[in-house]
Amino acid sequence: VNETLNNQIRRLRFDNGEMSQQELADRVGVTRQTIIALEGNKYAPSLMLAIRIARVFDVGVEDVFQYTNGSKR
């Protein structure tokens, strides 16, 4: 199964007053490099981090992260 976790972090940052990666990183307690890796879909965050990010943008976790798998239904 080809699993991917896409996210809308970049769009949500710009929708929230063009928040910088550093500001988001500080607010959720990670390094800026982790935000960069997340936006590039190169890192799958822990559940706690996913919830913290969603809370910063005041949206649900599934509005930020979308799980897809490559298997055909």
């Binding site: 500080d26 307690g29 990670v30 390094t31 890796a37 190169k42 965050p45 822990s46």
Partner: protein
Amino acid sequence: MTQQQKMAWFTLAICVAVLLAYGVLLPFVGPRAALAAFSLMSAWAFSGRFYRKRPGVVGAVVFDERDRAIHVKAVQVCAGCVYLYFVACCFTMAQLRRAADTVPVGWLDYMLWFGALVLMLSWSVAALVQYRREVA
């Protein structure tokens, strides 16, 4: 570059410096005295500075869950490498000293120092490869 990534580069640089120094000293002073090159490993004591928070910066994160995940995988690789190294040493000693049925105590120095080098080298390379792939 994260602080752990800087530390991995620093560790790799120390390992390369040790190997270079050993290689340079070897023809002049012989294998035993060339082990002095391993004293360069003491520079690793300064690696803790990478995790110090900068004065005046409040709440700056220097180590997070992604760094931790990379560190854990790097330690797994490192443990595997050290184990293989230890097994290789045991087999080599048994093969070379089978007739005498003993191992010279001096060989243990080499085994320990090069073992420490394998440990540091494998951890730093494994961590840097993961940062390059950016998958954790």
